[in-house]
């Protein structure tokens, strides 16, 4: 059987992490192709159902990247996001899903190298966890 | 207080280092257990010959201490300190290598524990000995402390390998504080951590002269009565080297002046072994 290529979505904020991703690009800092970015205006607009939806659609990992606390373009959207992601995580956990599959991190606009690092590291984590059973688990 | 002690090869033949340390810890009630069957750390020579070998030499020293129930070892030599500390750092960073080392050491039934630590004797005196004990021993030293040591100007000399490359001696002015604590006066100078060239002194005496001179000058320009060191190689080099630099300022071990402050006799402290002798008025303090 062929090697496991995880599906990972990264929902990132337009002002910080998406900009960092652009910077990583401009600086040619490569990271795993498994990462697919979804650009949102703010992590604060991430409805927990987006996360659940992603896993139901077969995501093996969901990464959420926003501005460092205090840097949010919309005052405190990132802080709100943190709370909601926790909520989503605990919900998913009840269905026996590994918490490490969902990660929220702050990556500032100028942190291209950090973005690359996080992408590499998160992909390793997911690779280690293997394919997500979430779908089956949730159906039960 | 008891510690595993690593003398290193230059310790016993050094000018009263052993004598003075033994005398001082006796007074302070500290015990140094010499690591049984310790071997040479390889100093600055072996890392340039074979890194693997240096690792084993160092690992063996630590394991011997571990075997006797000590995780931490104490040494009085800067060269040993830096060589062994570098071995520790390399081993701690390389688990695979540790296994290899342990496999080799098992012949002697030894095991290297990577929680091992190393410190210099001065750290014991400066950080472990409680203030109270100092005040007690210094004021009411064996034969009563001689007056007037505060008129004696001491130039501290750290050498290179205790402070560099780590730069994390804490407190950074440990030696100065200790000198002041036992009642002497320190003189500030810019050569405290300059290299004295001990490791090249034998084959390259001529080329090493300027290194010795700038350190001695640092002390002389600041009107020091004596220089005090923490390493047998530094002490020997600065002491014998002055024959060629035309200066004659005594170079002691920090343990020797501490000994004086504790009221010990110059002979007990091996001060008679210095090539450049300490003047009487210094030994007995200046009253006027």
């Amino acid at each position: 059987m062929e090697e496991f290529r995880p599906k990972i979505v990264a929902m990132v904020c337009n002002w910080c992490t998406y900009t960092a991703a652009d910077l990583a690009g401009t600086s040619r800092l490569d990271y795993p192709a498994e990462i697919r970015l979804v650009r949102l205006m703010c992590t604060g607009m991430i409805d927990p159902k987006y996360i659940i939806k992603a896993f139901l659609d077969g995501a093996d990992g969901v990464f959420i990247g926003g501005c460092h606390p205090g840097d949010c373009h919309y005052i405190d959207g990132n802080i709100k996001a943190e709370k909601r992601v926790k909520a989503a995580a605990s919900l998913l956990e009840q269905f026996g899903f590994e918490p490490d599959r969902l990660q929220l991190t702050w990556i500032g606009a100028s942190e291209g190298p950090e973005f690359q690092e996080h992408m590499k590291h998160f992909t390793q984590t997911i690779n280690a966890l293997g394919p997500s059973q979430t779908r089956e688990l949730m159906v039960l | 207080m008891k510690y595993a002690f690593y003398p290193g090869c230059s310790y016993s033949s050094a000018a009263g280092y052993k004598e003075s340390v033994d005398a001082v810890i006796r007074v302070l009630g500290i015990r140094f257990d010499e690591i049984p069957d310790w071997n040479c750390c390889g100093a600055t020579v072996y890392p340039g010959v074979s890194e693997k070998d240096t690792m084993l030499l160092g690992a063996r020293v630590f394991s011997l201490a571990n075997k006797n129930g000590y995780l931490e070892i104490i040494t009085g030599c800067n060269a040993c300190y830096s060589t062994l500390r570098k071995v520790l750092e390399k081993l701690k960073a390389d688990k695979a290598f540790v296994e290899d080392v342990n496999r080799r050491l098992s012949v002697e039934g030894l095991v290297f524990d990577d929680n091992s630590k190393i410190r210099h004797v001065i750290e014991v005196f400066a950080n472990d000995v409680p203030e109270a004990l100092w005040t007690e021993k210094i004021t009411s030293g064996h034969k009563g402390t001689r007056p007037g040591f505060n008129k004696i100007k001491v130039a501290p000399y750290y050498g290179c390998q205790l402070t560099r490359p780590w730069n994390d001696l804490d407190p950074a002015d440990m030696l100065e504080q200790l000198i002041e604590k036992v009642g002497f006066t320190t003189v500030d100078h810019s050569a405290k951590t300059m290299c004295c060239g001990a490791s090249l002194a034998v084959p390259h005496a001529k080329e090493t002269r300027p290194l010795i001179k700038r350190i001695i000058d640092g002390a002389v320009y600041n009107k020091a009565d004596i220089v005090t060191t923490l390493c047998p190689l530094c002490q020997f080099n600065l002491d014998q080297g002055q024959a060629a630099t035309g200066t004659a300022i005594p170079v002691t071990y920090f343990s020797q002046i501490i000994g004086l402050a504790l009221g010990l006799e110059p002979e007990e402290l091996g001060l008679d072994k210095l090539l450049i002798r300490v003047k009487k008025d210094v030994l007995h303090g200046r009253n006027n």
């Binding site: - | 090869c9 230059s10 016993s12 033949s13 050094a14 000018a15 069957d37 310790w38 071997n39 040479c40 390889g42 100093a43 600055t44 020579v45 072996y46 890392p47 340039g48 010959v49 074979s50 890194e51 693997k52 070998d53 084993l56 030499l57 063996r60 830096s82 080799r104 012949v107 002697e108 290179c160 390998q161 560099r164 490359p165 730069n167 300059m194 290299c195 060239g197 001990a198 490791s199 090249l200 034998v202 084959p203 390259h204 005496a205 080329e207 290194l211 014998q240 024959a243 008679d272 072994k273 210095l274 090539l275």
Partner: protein
């Protein structure tokens, strides 16, 4: 015969270069901005044919062979001043150690250099006794460099009067095992006579 337009730089064989660059800190020299802080800080740079900065420049020019036969390696006193000050945080001393090991391994020590003989004396002492004794190192080294030995006689006498001349070797009990540990100790080059470095 091959025609040449001028002095050509020694071509280093790639293996030599790679084994250096693949050593623990080898690639760090690529960071060097050639500011000379290391050389300026080095207490023995005046004696070196190439001070550390120059050495790194040589290596980056593929002149590995020349770097390995430079006397620089043998004048490093391991004072770490260079490391402390290097603005690029290059572990200069450790890199010199690596180069020295390569030089010992390949026996590229320039002849007439005294340090390798001193190293040999030291290592020999260590290998035999597990510990070293200054007087014995001096004796062994003195055979190769009688002048240095002679110069040291007054000092030796003085030390004796101070009861500091240990002429019986210090040694460990378990010498065989220590010898077993040590894979290598330097074969000094045949330094015929006293050429000062």
């Amino acid at each position: 015969m091959k025609h040449s337009y001028g002095k050509r730089s020694m071509k280093t064989d790639p293996e030599l270069r790679d084994s250096f660059y693949n050593s623990p800190h080898g690639k760090d020299i690529l960071r060097c901005i050639q500011c000379g802080t290391c050389s300026g800080s080095c207490p023995y740079s005046d004696q070196m044919d190439y001070a550390p900065r120059g050495l790194f420049a040589l290596i980056r020019d593929n002149e590995m062979a020349e770097a390995l036969s430079s006397n620089t390696l043998w004048f490093c006193s391991s004072c770490y001043q260079c490391i402390e000050r290097c603005p690029q945080e290059i572990p200069v001393t450790d890199i010199v150690y690596t180069l020295k090991q390569m030089a010992v391994e390949m026996n590229t020590m320039p002849s007439g250099l005294k340090m390798p003989d001193f190293y040999a004396a030291f290592a020999d002492n260590l290998v035999h006794f597990g510990r070293v004794t200054e007087s014995l190192i001096m004796a062994k080294y003195g055979v190769k460099h009688p002048l240095d030995a002679l110069k040291n006689i007054p000092l030796a006498l003085k030390l004796m009067t101070r009861k500091r001349m240990d002429i019986k070797p210090q040694m460990t009990k378990n010498r065989t095992s220590i010898r077993a540990y040590l894979e290598r100790h330097p074969q000094p080059p045949d330094t015929s006579g006293e050429k000062n470095s």
